[in-house]
Amino acid sequence: MTLTLWQRLDKTGRNLAPFAVTVMLALIGLVPVPAPAYGPVAPFLTAIAIYYWAIHRPDLMRPGTAFLIGLLQDLLTGGPLGVNALVLVLIHWTVMNQRRVLMASSFGMMWVGFVLVMLGVACVQWLAFSALNATVLPFNPALFQALLTVAMFPAVAWILIRVHRAFLQG
């Protein structure tokens, strides 16, 4: 069956949804929130998005895409280049290795899986920043950030499920 131009455009647009939503989350993560002690522990929203899309639509969220989004985040946050890119690629890779388990499991198990992923992320971030600054940085902020991200997971996943259903099904 050949698609008309409009159908193809529509399909491409829909297929861009995971990428667009993840970029949007990266930008929302940059909004200054005037609350004390929020900045250091602000949830790592793109990690949730990469985790979700890598499980459900790995064809639309390739490792290269994850890398590019991480790179964009690195450029916008003003941090050392490559750290977020590395973290997001690692999340993608972990999910791809365990995808069969994660696909078959319930939402609760997906959440538990995300806890483990975020602990790994906190370690990688801490290691990378410590190495790049050539000092041993305190680990706690990274841990709290991971915990807050885990706590935010259901809310963000709910939005992602909405987007998934609205644009990519039927």
Binding site: L27, I28, G29, L30, V31, P32, V33, P34, A35, P36, A37, Y38, G39, P40, V41, A42, P43, F44, P63, G64, A66, F67, G70, L71, L72, D74, L75, L76, T77, G78, G79, P80, L81, G82, V83, A85, L86, V89, L90, H92, W93, M96, Q125, A128, F129, L132, N133, T135, L137, P138, P141, A142, F144, Q145
Partner: protein, 289 residues
């Protein structure tokens, strides 16, 4: 014949694709690490790339930061209405005190001018201020920076001081066409030469990603009091001397900690200040990030 070839291509393609996928993962990890190296070695071009990308996204960040700021205002004003009476009393008392200070300041200014004219001292060049709105603050455990809506076309230059209300906030580290990035005092890469106001003890104030900063290179026998004001010393030529920075909050085994005057989590607008310092034309060397 044709279907068979395409079938074998498919059969061949599956493992190839798996191989490519595995390889791409490795490649991407290596690329990330290479980027970290590049950032360390060639910080200047990375800064330029960053300024370009920040510029490109500045309008979007500007737009999405507005509703957040409005919501915060609504919450804050609700809290303020509750405390309006006490706040009013306090402000009246403070205003009376400040009026006295104003008289003192005017008298001192007059005295200063007359003494300067006696000494034929060269007047300090006038400062120019650029006010900018904060549009982005990365939510990260290891970074303390802000992005503001003023750039090269507004006269922002690398190394300028950023102040807000009661004191120094940080300095400009990266300038785009219409956006700029400010490294906050609390960032682990921030270093400010300071002097303690009453003991005249010189030190370098360094951030460590926490809410307070610490003082480096103090002599071990320095007598430092909690509550002492910390101001810029002007060494290094980046900032003029005497700019308020913070207050010593604790002196102990973990070193001397300083509480910045400005609540860095709540900065909404800040002023980038060009002090027209002699020697400021040559860009001060920045520590690599």
């Amino acid at each position: 014949m044709k279907p068979r070839t395409s079938g074998s291509v498919v059969r061949l393609a599956a493992p190839l694709r798996a191989l490519a996928q595995r390889f791409s993962f490795l490649l991407l990890v290596l690329a990330s690490i290479a980027l970290m190296m590049v950032g360390k070695i060639d910080a200047l071009s990375v800064d330029n790339a960053r300024a370009r990308v920040t510029d490109a996204f500045a309008p979007i960040l500007d737009a999405i930061s507005r509703p957040a700021a409005t919501a915060a205002h609504v919450v804050e004003s609700a809290v303020e209405v509750r405390n309006a009476f006490e706040e009013n009393q306090r402000l009246k008392a403070e205003n009376a005190r400040l009026l006295q200070w104003r008289q003192a300041a005017l008298r001192l200014e007059a005295e200063n001018t007359s003494l300067r004219s006696l000494l034929k001292a060269t007047p300090e060049p006038p400062s120019t201020y650029i006010t900018a709105r904060v549009i982005a603050a990365p939510g990260s455990s290891f970074l303390r920076t802000l992005v503001v809506t003023a750039g090269r076309r507004d006269g922002v230059r690398k190394g300028q001081a950023a102040i807000a209300g009661a004191g120094l906030v940080g300095r400009v580290v990266e300038v785009g066409e219409w956006s700029a990035r400010v490294l906050l005092l609390t960032d682990i890469n921030a270093r400010v030469p300071v002097v303690l106001e009453s003991s005249r003890q010189r030190a370098v104030m360094a951030g460590d990603n926490s809410d307070q900063t610490k003082l480096l290179y103090l002599p071990p026998d320095a007598a430092i009091q909690v509550g002492e004001r910390v101001v810029t010393s002007g060494h290094g030529g980046q900032f003029p001397p005497g700019l308020a920075v913070g207050v010593v909050s604790s002196v102990g085994e973990r070193g001397v900690r300083v509480q910045p005057n400005v609540d860095l989590a709540r900065v909404e607008h800040l002023q980038l200040v060009d002090f027209n310092m002699p020697g400021a034309e040559t860009e001060p060397s920045h520590e690599t990030k």
